[in-house]
Amino acid sequence: MPYPWQKKQWRQVATAIERQRLAHAILLAGAEGTGIDQFAIELAQYLLCEAPVQPDSGCGQCRSCILFRAGNHPDIRMVNPEKPGMQIKVDAIRELIEYFHLSVQYGKHKITIIAPAEGMNRHSADGLLKTLEEPPPLSLLILVSYQPAKLPVTIRSRCQKIIFNRINRQASFDWLNGRLGDSGRTAALLEFAGGAPLKALELSETDVLQQRQDVMKDLRVLRTSKSNPVDTAKKWQEFDMAEVLLWLIFIFSNMAKIRYSSGNESIDKETGHLSAGLDLPQVISCYDLALKNYHLLTGTTNLNRQSLLEEIIIHWQCLKGSSLPASLNKYD
């Protein structure tokens, strides 16, 4: 069953299935942590189920559903990077194409889910093109993409796009609060996960809230004392690198918001203190750098992680603020 915030998209797909007009390749585009990968799996199970329960779920009883749940269904193939964050190599795509051209086993569909699709490197994407153009009968290719802009335009143009917009704040709050039962924590986690409920749920099981506090503290210390950027970068590397960069992006964007309009209630005071004495272009330059390095990190080339962090840290440390607030000087 799709998540409550995916009802509209499900209707779109279900109508297409009903009219037998479902495209041979669909691109699910939306933010990470909002369950679009789960949407793809639900859709696959629904299509393969022998007696789907209208409007939106597999029956869970038939042979297809049992095989599906065990991860053994012969008519579905998942293509993921070998490790999260790594590329999807061309060999994986070749194997997929070979599988795709074999006949279907149970006669309904043969489905492939590539997630995340932007994990395909250039060769993989090129290798897939031909199959995307002339798919074998009964086949369905589901591409899950968190950053569809990163996909080659040749791939994008050959898929039917299903767009998952930003989730309504209230909807994700209700869903998560129903699970955690702690509205304060729910709000903090959601804000932290950029409004992505599944990501927030995942975060609730880790100590990232604490880690993020540490990053905030480090940022403050970096501005006020001569702490060593190399050590700080090493420390941050022990956290999830991509997460750290997302936090930084988030923190800098909040700072920019404060610079724009003082008295923004939704942003915590600490961020305000941190950015005191900096002007908007300076904050924006930090934001840009963090964003750039985030893309470099999650991109298809493997760069030195330490240097990516050091660059941001040094840039931050060397910003010339007009004056540091007295309240922070005590850390000197």
Binding site: A70, N72, H73, E98, H101, L102, S103, Q105, G107, K130
Partner: protein
């Protein structure tokens, strides 16, 4: 769930099916063997999601039931037991205990419903054929299949069911092999299917050189061959085989008639000095004479002169010597006929015993 099987029954059955179990399967269930206990006996099934092998053996049990067991481990255990041994299985809470004499083993199991069995839908054509005939049909054509070609439909063997005739065609775009055999077959329209390379090789391995008959069923998505004690099922390649009839030339009026052994030996001697990559050989024809000329990058040369019967025009054509040799070696008759109508069209090789096999090798520009 309890049952007893003798090693004498179990080992040959495992030997038959275990070959299809991959050593490092993509899913855990694929390293397991499905066992169905029913009044007909104990049915063993193994699959790699492309090919499925099923066999039925006798065993003692009181209640029907299903389970899956690790195939290779069971095979290794069974093989290592004394010849007269009985294996008694008892399955309880997800573990299978095997007792034989003073040996005890406990194996992990997986639920039988999670095993992806193939079922045949809508059989379009079925016929029976002698094992030996089927085996030789595959053997005479399979060598020309493509291997990992992007034209995925060439990575297999085309089987074509026509009225009272079964045809096999394989090509990789450079050469083609085509053979017909007569079988009692009735179809409304010609039925084509492409068996993947893996399935063809596995089936060739299973078929015996005997006169016993096998039952073949063709459906939209599968081909099933019932070999009596063993049932082979393979998925098919979903695609359209190219129109091969257009590349098979008609036999010319003045074919070259040549002894198979003389041609094969001559070509293989000449091929020693051919370019490793292009494998080019220049065939020149004149009255009653065929010359094969080969040279490589180091300017080393080989020349073979072979006596033939030929009355046509003199001409010179280039070929890949490996492709020529493949075709010549697969033709087992004493003599064969070669038609080269023009230096730019394919060369047709025919055995001279009247069997319906045709081999085409496309020319090279040298």
């Amino acid at each position: 769930m309890n049952f007893i099987i003798t090693k004498k029954n179990l080992l040959p059955a495992l030997q038959d099916v275990v070959g299809v179990v991959e050593r490092r399967p993509s899913l855990p269930i694929l390293s397991n063997l499905l066992l169905n206990l029913s009044p007909e006996g104990i049915r063993l099934a193994a699959t790699d999601m492309e090919v499925e092998l099923v066999t039925t053996i006798a065993g003692e049990f009181e209640q029907a039931g299903d389970i899956t067991l690790p195939a290779r481990k069971l095979f290794d255990i069974c093989r290592a037991l004394p010849d007269e041994a009985d294996l008694s299985f008892s399955i309880e809470s997800g573990r299978a205990a095997i007792v034989s004499g003073k040996s005890r083993f406990t194996l992990a199991t997986l639920p039988a419903q999670e095993f992806p069995q193939i079922e045949l839908l809508d059989v379009d054509a079925k016929f029976t054929i002698q094992q030996g005939v089927f085996k030789s049909l595959l053997g005479k054509t399979a060598f020309a299949m493509a291997q990992q070609d992007v034209r995925y439909y060439l990575n297999g063997l085309l089987l074509e069911a026509q009225q009272d005739k079964l045809r096999a065609v394989a090509t990789d775009g450079h050469r083609l092999a085509m053979c017909d055999v007569d079988v009692a077959l009735s179809v409304d329209e010609i039925k084509q299917l492409i068996v993947p390379r893996k399935g063809v090789l596995e089936l060739t391995r299973l078929l015996q050189d005997s006169e016993t008959e096998v039952h073949v069923q063709m459906s939209r998505n599968h081909i099933r061959v019932d070999l009596g004690k063993l049932v082979f099922t393979s998925k098919l390649i979903d695609g359209k085989f190219p129109d091969y009839t257009r590349v098979v030339p008609e036999q010319g009026e003045t074919p070259v008639l040549v002894k198979q052994s003389a041609l094969r030996q001559g070509l293989s001697r000449a091929s020693i000095l051919s370019n490793d990559k292009y494998r080019g050989v220049r065939i020149s024809l004149e009255k009653d004479k065929l010359r094969a000329l080969v040279h490589n990058q180091e300017q080393e040369e080989a020349e073979e002169e072979i006596d033939v019967e030929y009355t046509g025009d003199a001409m010179e054509v280039g070929f890949n010597v490996s492709y020529l040799l493949d075709a010549v070696s697969i033709i087992q008759t004493e003599a064969l006929m070669i038609t080269i109508s023009t230096p730019k069209s394919g060369c047709l090789l025919l055995p001279d015993d009247g069997t319906d096999c045709r081999y085409v090798v496309m020319p090279l520009l040298l």
